[in-house]
Amino acid sequence: MTELAIAFTLNGERRALRVPAHRTLLHVLRDDCGAVEVKEGCGEGVCGTCTVLLDGEPVSSCLVLAPRVAGRDVVTLRGLCEGDALHPLQEAFVAHGAAQCGFCTPGMILTAYALLRERPHPTRADVRRAIAGNLCRCTGYTKIVDAILAAAGPGEPRDGA
């Protein structure tokens, strides 16, 4: 078994710790860093609730080995807030009732955040495609898609969807 020292940025703060090489980023975040806003669902990359942004891109933190994070930038849901102020996506989820049990919400919002950065005014179809890998077993997705579109705000029409 290999143990190694890694340092990375978590929501803008530098973290340095020693981890066994076989630990996943998910467990580093939850168990070593106390970032329990990152949820463990399936543990095999399917459900999307453990989504974090790694150098800006959404990844399944359950499918990243800890050594891979050395020197990189990790953002969890908490990293989108400014102090106590919620991010506009979080506000939109609240306003649209897009969370029921809330377990999928961190992954949904981070995935939506990455989508809106790449495509600030997505169509409904863009949103559905972007969150296709994030499973919600409560709301049925309609309110989640509504919330993401509301957070994006009106933009230039694209393909009429």
């Binding site: 078994m1 290999t2 190694l4 066994p20 090489a21 076989h22 630990r23 996943t24 467990h27 543990g43 095999e44 990359g45 399917v46 999307g48 989504t51 790694l54 891109e57 959404p58 990844v59 399944s60 359950c62 499918l63 990243v64 080995l65 050594p67 891979r68 995935t111 990455a114 495609r129 972007a130 296709a132 890998g133 994030n134």
Partner: protein, 292 residues
Amino acid sequence: MPAVPFDYHAPATLAEAVSLLGSLGEDAKPLAGGQSLLPLLTLRLVRPRAVVDLHRLDELRAVRRDGGTLEVGALVRHRALERGEGPLVLCPLLQEAAALIGNVRVRALGTIGGSLAHADPAAELPAAVRALDGTILVQGAAGARAIPAEEFFAGLLTTALRPDELLTAVRLPLPGPRTGHAVEEFSRRAGDFAIVAAFAVVQLDAAGRVAAARVALAGCGPTPRRLDAVERALVGLAPSEEEIRRVVAHRPLEIEPDSDVHASAAYRRHLAGVLTVRALARAAAGARAFGP
């Protein structure tokens, strides 16, 4: 569940990685994007003594155009393929195939080399590379080899790679003029592996007749399959959808689908015919759009 502990190596050069694999033998697993290996580790379906992490091997990230061929490094990610970054835009079939892989998170980390070496029979990229007549480049202690995709996929999750060899790149002939492509996939839910997927490339001559056609199927046997009889029968025809349907209906589909929890062999065979026609018809339409 956490993976069973293993020794972790992150070699800095390809030579070092190959020599490590040579000395560790079957006890070691190379790690590329980790989107297949990590689930296998955490479900404890594999328990290697050592993991050789390839992420420092920047030499495997290159994409090069060399005359009529494109060489795609093993560590190029699905997202780069999907977005058609740099010279990858020259290979639209790869772009369309990559967009269908898993979910956006899998595509952010998964690599072309990892997918090819894992050789899942329902995966997109092995069948796409078969349809493109690709060549797999590998490096071992004994030297480098170039293996045609046809010989590379040897069986279920099994390739021609030896334990001390690493897949370094895939070489793809670039499409010529009047060439169209298409991928038609059926899966039950977004992000699922394909039940069946068809990957087609059609090149027309100046008169609008088929100069060459290639079609490969995923999900129809232990390895991706090419439909040789259909491909040969299409040459010289004006490829309307009716004509393609007639050819596919009257030629044997050289596939051996299995029944499993996802679909029966008979249903897979049915899908194979339908998706092959759709993919060839769309590829032919794309080729016609180039004009004479």
